[in-house]
């Protein structure tokens, strides 16, 4: 193994169709029009010296090292800023160029500390490399000249340092922050020798607007911006390309290693989801893998009030299996089930559902997608025929109008948000439907053309009203509808949406959105060119989540915004492998590839391969499992990598359900909240310790590669296999690739997928089969998967979660950039510096009415329960709406959320809870009791001491 060195072509790739031919140092080269000379030279292997250029950024032309001579032209132009021309003859190395470059390098070095041997970038410094490349042997200006401005090293950021004395003012960091990340946190302050990179208004990095995406650190050619891990450990010696285990963007990273220690995670330029960019979580927050809280030994206990007892793997597995068998013998086959994890690989989720269906002999398997994007599955399958988004991420580069509904991309999907922002800076228009004023509403160089601040719970009314405008103002793309959709259904739908009760003026009364905003947004989406819709959990986590998804699908069909680049309907998936866990058959009613368990032919295929009969009836969904547990008919649960006690709604009900079970097996990295009610703990492995695949929000299947041995002893799929074997349903996989081969054999949309193909191509987007051997970036191009697109009537039904005198405010929940879901991983990293606790956002008007000041403790109460947390007063939320995150177990925000759920899928209605907020002195009684329970249930018994005699 060695360090993967990606080629830096110096300037971005031109996407022009027309080609240009030229000669570089006598070598002929043909490149797309608009390519720089620097890039053309690199295409034939000639690396022109450079410092300010890198192919992640537009050419800047400041360092004056990359000069070339062009036959027939005067002067020595910069090769990074000079585009190629037909017939051009370029010389990259002449006596004149050599003299100039040496002179330039002398100037750089005369102003740079010469502590190379002890510098953290020694061996990984482009300045060092260029000094060598230009043959610098002396510096006529001396080595002790005036050094660059040195206000001291800024170590405020937990992950990287900023040492201005080493800065060569190439502006790569400033440009990366602008062009790649789109935050504009950096600038160059001062002039001449006083020039210095300045976060915000000469603040520290931590105090500035910097979001710690790492783009500046990655761009820096010296040690000016350097990872603290590199400073501590040294430079890496080998690297492995793998996939991030945080959000659904699915960024590809190079895990740069020294032995089995991760030195740093560098975004991989060839990663087709992230194109070389990253966020603070994927780039830096991997320390949880080695956190002291990780539990690495299996543990069991008879009762949840007993302390845990560390046991061997054999004993733990045997105990779990015997308990499941005992329960099934006593209470029946359907009394146990399993939950797969969207944090685990495709292969691992496939095995868990296989264990449940074939080992337990029922279909009681579900996944955390139940509580996030299950309505996407129902809605898009119904309307288009496929339970997935329609586009690849690259598609956004062709969008003219971007509509974001119920998503907060800069926090939830930051790397894709950066790509969106880039397109918006190029001129695309922006429509946002969100109760909160999310960052995308107004951020540097971006302002939403329309922000529709709708009242939580009124999505269907507002989206249907957008359709009203499109239909009644003659903005329907009739030729698309006639050829691609069921026209009878369209006519029914058009008649429905055209009714007066769906007019913006009528809907304003329920949604609070001014009618003119709805009309303007609808016209822009219908007439603005390529219109793309991106949506998140603000759409799905409602009692009408599936209906909203279908309303969105209707909009795209009515305007013809489907089936080509730049358009489409795109769910932004929450966790890294939500798409994959659904694809793998984690839902209780369907096997892999979204085929219902009642389909005899499908079941027969699985039965033939697995050698056991399968149940033709759907199993229990997670909320049904908990209801059944409380009711007494569900007694045992195998949970792989999900903390349902913290993440699922109505915590008290969840706790009652878990407490009613006789065997709860949790397979996880830490003693998460659910383990308070567990009887068996099986230590899980991190994404750094396993092989497999994740599938991201664009249906892209990517490799996860092991960079260290599992600290717990086994990869997660191996643990499931051990359990299955102990249950009496043998599994004999030697490698996850064999599991994927089985998936491919059983699943038409995955028929062409294999680890070999993924190694060759880097990634593929399903469907990947004989019809599309290299995958399918954009779906429904020539027709919908279901045949004709289906328009669905989307009647607005107000949620039964009503505000009133007792609970007059509406609570909506979400997540923030630095933390991830229940925080089990990110709370165990330095990311806590940005988010130490969940806060309640409340509008100044509502705060004043309640005598609440910023930072005060407040009690947040609903009919389900109450908790307390500190308040942040902000106008990001509208009057009458409050917002919080659910990252911290001490808050347990879900003790407040209710049992209401989506009509089609039981996806919980997290986004609408009627609450009251009042001043408080601190934690509620429930929080204190929970903390005590939690402390007691995490006790681990001392190992028994065996006498020497």
């Amino acid at each position: 193994m060695s360090l993967i060195q990606e080629i830096d072509y110096g300037t971005p790739r031109s996407k022009a169709a027309k080609s240009v031919s030229l000669t570089v140092d006598g070598v002929a080269v043909t490149v797309p029009e608009g390519t720089s000379i620097m890039r053309a030279a690199m295409e034939v292997g000639t690396q022109i010296p450079k410092l300010c250029a890198t192919d992640m950024l537009d050419a800047f032309g400041s360092c004056r090292l990359c000069l070339v001579e062009i036959q027939g032209r005067a002067g020595t132009p910069a090769s990074c800023t000079t585009p190629v021309m037909e017939g051009m003859v370029v010389h990259t190395q002449t006596d004149r160029l050599k003299r100039i470059r040496k002179g330039v390098m002398e100037l750089y070095i005369s102003d740079h500390p010469l502590d190379c041997l002890t510098c953290s970038a020694n061996g990984d410094c482009e300045l060092q490399d260029m000094a060598g490349a230009v043959g610098l042997r002396e510096v006529r200006y001396g080595y002790d000249g005036e050094k660059h401005a040195n206000p001291g090293v800024d170590t405020s950021n937990p992950y990287f340092t900023f040492d201005p004395s080493k800065c060569i003012v190439c502006s790569r960091c400033v440009r990366a922050c602008e062009e790649v990340q789109g935050t504009f946190a950096l600038t160059i302050a001062g002039r001449g020798f006083d020039s210095v990179v300045s976060p915000s208004m000469e603040e520290s990095f931590l105090a500035s607007e910097c979001v710690s995406c790492g783009a500046c650190v990655q761009a820096c050619p010296t040690a000016t911006l350097n990872e603290k891990s590199v400073i501590d450990i040294g430079t890496p010696e080998h690297s492995v390309v793998t996939t991030c285990a945080y959000c659904g963007v699915g960024c590809a990273f190079k895990a740069e290693m020294r032995g089995e220690e991760v030195v740093r995670m560098l975004p991989y330029k060839d990663g087709k989801a992230n194109r070389g960019h990253s966020c603070v979580k994927g780039r830096f927050a991997f320390g949880y893998a080695t956190h002291k809280d990780r539990v690495l030994k299996p543990m069991i206990r008879s009762k949840i009030t007993d302390p845990w007892r560390e046991v061997s793997w054999d004993e733990a597995i045997a105990y779990a299996a015997s308990e499941f068998k005992r329960i099934q013998a006593k209470y029946g086959k359907g009394s146990v089930g399993g939950i797969t994890s969207s944090r685990c690989t495709n292969e691992e989720t496939f095995l868990v559902q296989k264990l449940v269906r074939a080992g337990f002999g029922n279909n009681n398997v579900d996944t955390c997608a139940r509580v996030c994007h299950s309505p996407t599955g129902y809605g898009l399958k119904t309307t288009y025929g496929t339970s997935a988004g329609t586009q690849d991420f690259d598609s956004v580069e062709q969008s003219d109008v971007i509509m974001i509904i119920g998503a907060n991309p800069t926090d939830g999907h930051p790397v894709f948000a950066s790509r969106m922002k880039k397109r918006l800076r190029q001129g695309a228009k922006l429509i946002i439907l969100d109760p909160r004023r999310i960052d995308m509403v107004r951020t540097p160089h971006i302002e939403a053309d329309y922000h529709l601040p709708l009242k939580p719970g009124t999505n269907v009314a507002v989206v249907t009203s957008l359709a009203h405008v499109i239909v009644t103002e003659g903005l329907v793309n009739e030729s698309f509808v006639r050829t691609r959709c069921d026209f009878d259904e369209f006519q029914d739908w058009a008649e429905f949406v055209a009714r007066p009760e769906h007019s913006p003026e009528a809907v304003e009364k329920v949604s609070g959105v001014p009618a003119e905003l709805i009309r303007g947004a609808a016209r822009l989406y219908a007439k603005g060119g390529n219109g793309a819709i991106y949506y998140g959990l603000g759409v799905t986590e409602h009692s009408q989540g599936s209906t909203t998804v279908m309303a969105i699908a209707n909009l795209a069909m009515a305007t013809g915004n489907i089936g080509r680049e730049g358009v489409g309907v795109n769910p932004l998936r929450g966790q890294n492998n939500v798409q994959g866990s659904c694809d793998m058959g984690s839902f209780p009613h369907e096997v892999s590839g979204y085929r219902h368990v009642s389909d005899d032919a499908t079941r027969a295929m699985f039965e033939a391969l697995w050698g056991v009969p399968l149940d033709a009836e759907p199993g229990l969904r997670i909320p049904n499992m908990i209801d059944a547990a409380v009711d007494g008919s569900f007694k045992g649960l195998y949970i792989q990598g999900e903390d349902i006690l913290q993440s699922d709604p109505d915590t008290k009900h969840m706790a009652a359900g878990l407490a009613a079970m006789e065997c709860v097996v949790v397979q996880d990295l830490f003693l998460v909240e659910t383990t308070n009610y567990a009887h068996v703990f099986l230590p899980g492995s991190t994404f750094l310790e396993k092989n497999g695949t994740f599938t991201n929000a664009e249906r892209r299947i990517q490799m996860v590669r092991k960079v260290m041995q599992p600290k717990n002893g086994y990869e997660d799929w191996q643990i499931t296999q051990l359990l299955s074997n102990a249950l009496g349903f043998p599994m004999h996989y030697n490698h996850p690739s064999e599991i994927m081969d089985e998936v491919a054999a059983l699943t038409p949309t995955f028929a062409g997928v294999s680890f070999k193909k993924l190694d060759e191509l880097g990634s593929v987007q399903w469907p990947c089969n004989a019809n599309a051997p290299e995958g399918t970036p954009v779906m429904h191009i020539n027709g919908f998967v279901r045949g004709k697109g289906k328009f669905v009537i989307t009647e607005y039904v107000a949620t039964d979660e009503k505000t009133g005198p007792r609970f007059p405010l509406l609570l909506t929940t979400g997540r923030i950039l630095s933390q991830y879901n229940v925080g089990a991983q990110t709370r165990r990293t330095a990311n806590v510096i940005w988010h130490e606790e969940d806060r309640l956002e409340i509008h100044p008007h509502d705060a004043e009415q309640r005598g609440v000041c910023d930072g005060d403790w407040v009690k947040l109460a609903s009919r389900a329960g109450e908790t307390s947390l500190r308040a942040t007063i902000t106008e990001r939320v509208a009057p009458g709406v409050v917002y919080t995150t659910f990252h911290h177990p001490v808050t347990q925000a879900n003790v407040v959320t209710t049992e209401f759920s989506d009509w089609a899928t039981n996806c919980p209605e997290y986004k609408v809870t009627a609450v009251q907020v009042m001043p408080s002195n601190g934690p509620t009684q429930w929080q204190e009791e929970y903390e005590e329970l939690s402390r007691a249930s995490r006790q681990i018994a001392e190992p028994a001491v065996i006498a020497a005699e």
Binding site: G334, N364, G377, Y378, G379, K381, T382, G385, S387, E489, D492, F496, S543, S546, T547, F587, P588, H589, E590, Y594, H596, S598, E617, P618, G619, L620, R621, N624, D627, A628, D631, S633, R786, K790, V792, I793, E795, V797, E899, W903, A904, T905, N906
Partner: protein, 86 residues
């Protein structure tokens, strides 16, 4: 399973299908419950139906009657509808 909860869920499904094409309302409700509800949930709501089924909206009641008959081998199989969501 609590009948109140099951009735609430069934009526929620009913509210969606009530506004779809009339020939898909009852089959849509029946199909949805058949495809997505675990047998013990169906059994529980059938039992509740036998006790009078208070609170069930009319098309939901009709759909459940059909499903129950099918489960008992009496009625015709629930026809497929155009709602093929998963």
């Amino acid at each position: 399973m609590s009948p109140d909860r099951l009735v609430y869920m069934a009526n929620q499904i009913g509210k969606f299908f009530e506004v779809q094409r009339s020939d898909e309302t009852v089959p849509g409700i029946a199909n949805h419950i058949k495809k997505f509800w675990d047998p013990r949930m169906r059994k529980a709501i059938f039992a509740y139906l036998d006790e009078g089924g208070d609170g069930l909206d009319p098309p939901v009641r009709e759909a459940l009657e059909q499903l129950k008959a099918e489960a008992q081998g009496r009625g015709r199989p629930t026809p497929e509808t155009s709602f093929q969501g998963t």
